[in-house]
């Protein structure tokens, strides 16, 4: 990576500082709206991963790693676990394995909040995609060092 980092651009770095939170927010937005509008966990995950990769190119590997806090492989694990666990509530209710369950929570100010196992599943996909893409990218970067 050293060669790329020698060409660090101030414009890119500053721009990233501004754009990065927006991108991450956007990825969450994509994740949450996915059930009704274009979006979803897969797309959201790709956007988030691309955002963190942007940080990597604009600044450096340690800061991108610090941004993520955990090792990307851990994200893969958590994502898989969430997705797999979302299959279980249906069994408790007596439905078939993986039958979607929906719960509506009334919230005093915002109206109502719809929670569901597909949402949990989608969050699992989201984390799994971020984890996979970043594992590959981080690993390739590490191979350079």
């Amino acid at each position: 990576m050293s060669r790329q980092f020698n060409m660090r651009s101030l414009i890119l770095s500053t721009g990233t500082t501004i754009i990065l939170p927006l991108l991450l927010l956007f990825s969450l937005f994509l994740l949450l709206r996915g059930h009704n509008e274009p979006g979803g966990g897969f797309i959201g995950g790709l956007v988030a991963a691309a955002a963190i990769a942007l940080k990597l190119f604009a600044d450096d590997y340690p800061s991108a790693k610090a941004l993520l806090r955990v090792h990307p492989l851990q994200l893969v694990g958590i994502g898989l676990a969430l997705a797999a666990l979302s299959s279980l509530p249906s069994l408790l209710v007596g439905d078939n394995f993986f039958t979607a369950q929906w719960w509506t929570l009334p919230l005093p100010i915002f109206g109502e909040l719809k929670l569901s196992t597909p949402l949990i599943f989608d969050i699992g996909v989201f984390l799994g995609v971020i984890g996979t893409v970043l594992t590959v990218i981080f690993t390739l970067v590490e191979a350079e060092h």
Partner: protein
């Protein structure tokens, strides 16, 4: 019963954390669960002994007729009680035996997983669930045998046990599927209603199922893995290799006897293999000196005996089998735990080094003697009842009566020798110095063997107790019809009693000449070099070298070769299928092509041709990116916005990945010969043509309505979402998506391992990197489609 099985797995998951909290008391606390379950199963005794099997069922894959269903009849209850009862003691015992072991938490995790799997296996009422639990016992026992995984010998033996049982498991799966096909149902309770001995699939499925059962239950010639599995810590040997797992094969045979038993093949195979195993096992036991080895080989003998009895298939044999099984579990569990005590408290592993411990370990001695007497079949212990029934069953068998009786008596003589070794050798006689100062163990370790040995005595004195509540129902389940026989301690003076007495005397005599006997038979040591284990080792060596060869040929590390092989295979298979078609009609209707689509098509064509002829990496990457974006546009035109977005994002990420590897690539040069390029071009053109033809063909001859309308219609009312693509991904076909993100995870781990586990400073080759990038791309695109 689902909760029963799940509760154990749940406890297994939290066991390592509990260990951090509770420390050395973990074993006792964990033992509460099997103890509770034991009481639950015991409370079912009276209902089940009335002949009402308890059935419970949950739909699992209703589309395939697979249900998560459980059945509790006499046979499963007998096993369930053994698994939970002995399991309780083993957990107490292991807590102390392995006290302070750094991985004790993990040990409990494996042991409890095994317990859950074994319980699931004996409670399953569905062939598929039964198989799943069967494989789970294999996997968890692999972890247990290889528990001391830093020891290479331990690893190797765990590996051996795994390979042998997995091989059998594979055969078993095929056999069970055939069984399900033949019976028309995967529900055991349905299968057992039918006699399948006349079915055309009978012979193949019998062979496959027997292969599964014989490998699991260590029948000759697969018996070698069981003594090697003694590499496991002793509590594991006591639990898995005496009372439970190795009996899974016997359980399966007993379970399926009503459907598959009774034929000539069944009778001959099972009694012959069983008798052979019985003799092999006990003969090897009489020659071994390691305490655990002797016990392991005598377990092989017991498994052979059970198989032989199941082969006979008479009413008496069924009763004898379940009685012998219970008696064996009681004394063998106790004796294994005593072997562990000898090792743990006195450092003794070998009979030759053990003598005169009676004074130092009085309580252990007492328990050991009682258990060993039951093994020897001395009146009034339960082992005697079992042995009497065994002899009666063999004597009243229809075929090979004389041969089987002779084999049984011969085996019994050696059993007496083994029992005498266990009851006398370490305890009486001249006291020898021990590696550790010998003393009785704490109650946690002695409770198990003491209770089991005492039960052996109580059941011997009051055989109607286990008979009435349990064994009769169990034998009924094995036989398929109600059993009229009953258990009694005293049958009067008859032939079995005489044979029993005779073997007792001869066995004791043989004990007197144990060392000369071992010298006399020393020739076996040389013979065993050509035995089944040597065959296994040769087979494994051949397998490894074959794997190495085919990996060198197929997985040669050149992405271009992989692509070439894949493409050529597709062209050949699809092309062959198309040539065999009768109606070859293509959809040449292009009237509904819109202007913008035609434009995109031209862009696609231009970019791809330029990419082929361009002489620069960066240019090719850029062109491929353009290609991807053009394809994304096509998705958008057909209102698959989600797929389009994904395509764009994947292209972006691919560019990022390429940036990371691009500058490491060598300069762009022409490396392949013209002939190679011509070959590549040919295959590329052929695959393009074949795929195009395929699409035209499929669109022309669509015979069924697509299922798209279903998803469109049901998305809002049933999936509560207007984005159909997403609803399909996370709801309708969530299981597929789960599988796909599993693949993604595998790719991530693979890339990580490939780069990080590389030894030396050799850089990652470009082929590897491109491969992973390409795989990821394919996966993510597939994931969205």
């Amino acid at each position: 019963m689902l909760n029963v099985v799940l509760s154990i797995f749940l406890l297994a998951c939290i066991a390592p954390h509990l260990y951090r909290l509770l420390g050395k008391h973990t074993g006792l606390v964990l033992a509460l669960l099997p103890a509770t379950l034991f009481i639950y199963f015991a409370s079912q005794l009276s209902a089940v002994s009335q002949g009402q099997p308890l059935l419970q069922s949950w739909p699992w894959f209703p589309g395939l007729g697979i249900q998560l269903s459980f059945m509790l009849d006499g046979l499963s209850l007998l096993f369930a009680l053994l698994i939970t009862g002995i399991g309780t003691f083993i957990l107490c015992y292991a807590g102390q035996y392995l006290q302070g072991h750094p991985a004790l938490g993990r040990f409990f995790l494996f042991l409890l997983s095994f317990m859950g799997a074994m319980l699931g296996l004996v409670l399953s009422d569905n062939l598929i669930t039964l198989f799943v639990f069967w494989e789970l016992t294999t996997v968890s026992s692999f972890m247990l045998i290889g528990f001391n995984h830093e020891d290479s010998e331990s690893r190797q033996k765990a590996h051996q046990g795994l390979m042998v049982t997995v091989l059998g498991g594979l055969a078993l799966m095929t056999g069970l599927i055939m069984l399900g096909m033949a019976a028309g149902s995967y529900q055991l309770s349905d299968v057992l209603q039918q006699d399948l001995t006349g079915h055309s699939l009978y012979l193949p499925m019998l062979i496959l199922i027997l292969l599964g059962a014989f490998t699991k239950s260590a029948q000759t010639p697969f018996h070698f893995w069981l003594p090697n599995a003694m590499a496991a810590p002793t509590p594991v040997s006591a639990y898995l290799h005496s009372a439970t797992m190795v009996k899974a094969g016997v359980y399966l045979l007993a379970r399926l006897q009503p459907s598959l038993g009774g034929s000539e093949v069944w009778l001959l195979t099972l009694s012959a293999v069983g008798a052979l195993t019985m003799l092999t096992g006990i003969f090897l036991a009489s020659r071994a000196t390691g305490i655990k080895k002797v016990l392991a080989y005598s377990t092989v003998m017991a498994l052979g005996t059970l198989t032989m009895l199941l082969g006979l298939g008479t009413e008496k044999a069924a009763l004898a089998a379940v009685t012998f099984l219970l008696a064996h579990a009681l004394y063998k569990g106790a004796l294994f735990m005593i072997a562990g005590i000898l090792d743990h408290e006195a450092g003794i592993k070998d009979f030759e080094k053990a003598s005169g411990l009676r004074k130092l370990m009085p309580r252990t001695t007492l328990v050991a003697v009682v258990a060993a007497l039951s093994l020897a079949g001395v009146i009034p212990l339960f082992g005697f009842v079992g042995k009497e029934l065994l002899l009666e069953a063999v004597l009243s068998g229809s075929q090979w009566q004389l041969g089987l009786t002779a084999a049984t008596v011969l085996a019994n003589i050696f059993v007496v020798l083994v029992a005498a070794l266990l009851a006398i050798k370490p305890w009486f006689g001249q006291a020898l110095p021990t590696p550790k100062p010998a003393h009785d163990p704490g109650w946690q370790m002695l409770a198990g063997p003491a209770v089991l040995a005492t039960l052996g005595l109580i059941f011997g004195l009051l055989p109607m107790l286990p008979d009435q509540y349990l064994l009769n129902a169990a034998a009924t389940a094995v036989y398929g019809q109600p059993i009229s026989g009953y258990l009694a301690l005293w049958h009067g003076i008859n032939l079995p009693l005489m044979l029993s007495l005779g073997s007792l005397v001869l066995g004791l005599l043989l004990f007197r000449f144990w060392q000369p006997w071992r010298k006399l038979t020393a020739v076996v040591e040389t013979l065993s070099k050509a035995g089944p284990e040597a065959g296994y080792n040769k087979l494994m060596a051949a397998l490894v070298s074959f794997a190495a060869w085919q990996t060198r040929v197929l997985q040669n590390g050149y992405l271009r070769n992989y692509l070439l092989t894949t493409m050529a295979t597709v062209v050949l298979l699809v092309g062959w299928a198309m040539l065999r078609l009768e109606h070859f009609e293509l959809n040449w209707q292009f009237s509904d092509v819109r202007v913008q689509e035609a434009v995109i098509f031209l862009v696609l064509l231009t970019t791809i041709i330029s990419a082929v002829v361009l002489n620069s990496f960066l240019g090719v990457v850029a062109l491929l990116g353009a290609l991807g974006f053009a394809v994304a546009l096509i998705y958008v035109f057909f209102s698959a916005v989600d797929v389009g977005i994904t395509q764009v994002l994947v292209e972006t990420i691919t560019v990022l990945l390429l940036v990371l590897v691009l500058y490491r690539l060598p300069e762009f040069r022409r490396l392949s010969s013209t002939a190679h390029r011509a070959r590549d071009a040919l295959i590329a053109i052929a695959s393009g043509t074949v795929i195009t033809l395929l699409i035209l063909l499929v669109t022309a001859s669509r015979s069924m309505e697509g299922i798209a309308w279903y998803f469109l219609e049901k998305s809002v009312p049933e999936g509560y979402g207007r984005n159909v693509v997403n609803v399909i991904l996370v709801d309708f076909r969530a299981l597929d998506t789960l599988g796909e993100i599993f693949v993604l995870a595998l790719v991530a781990i693979g890339v990580y391992a490939m780069v990080h586990l590389r030894t030396g400073a050799k850089p990652v080759t470009n082929a590897d990197k491109r491969l992973t990038a390409e795989q990821k791309r394919q996966q993510s695109v597939k994931g969205e489609l």
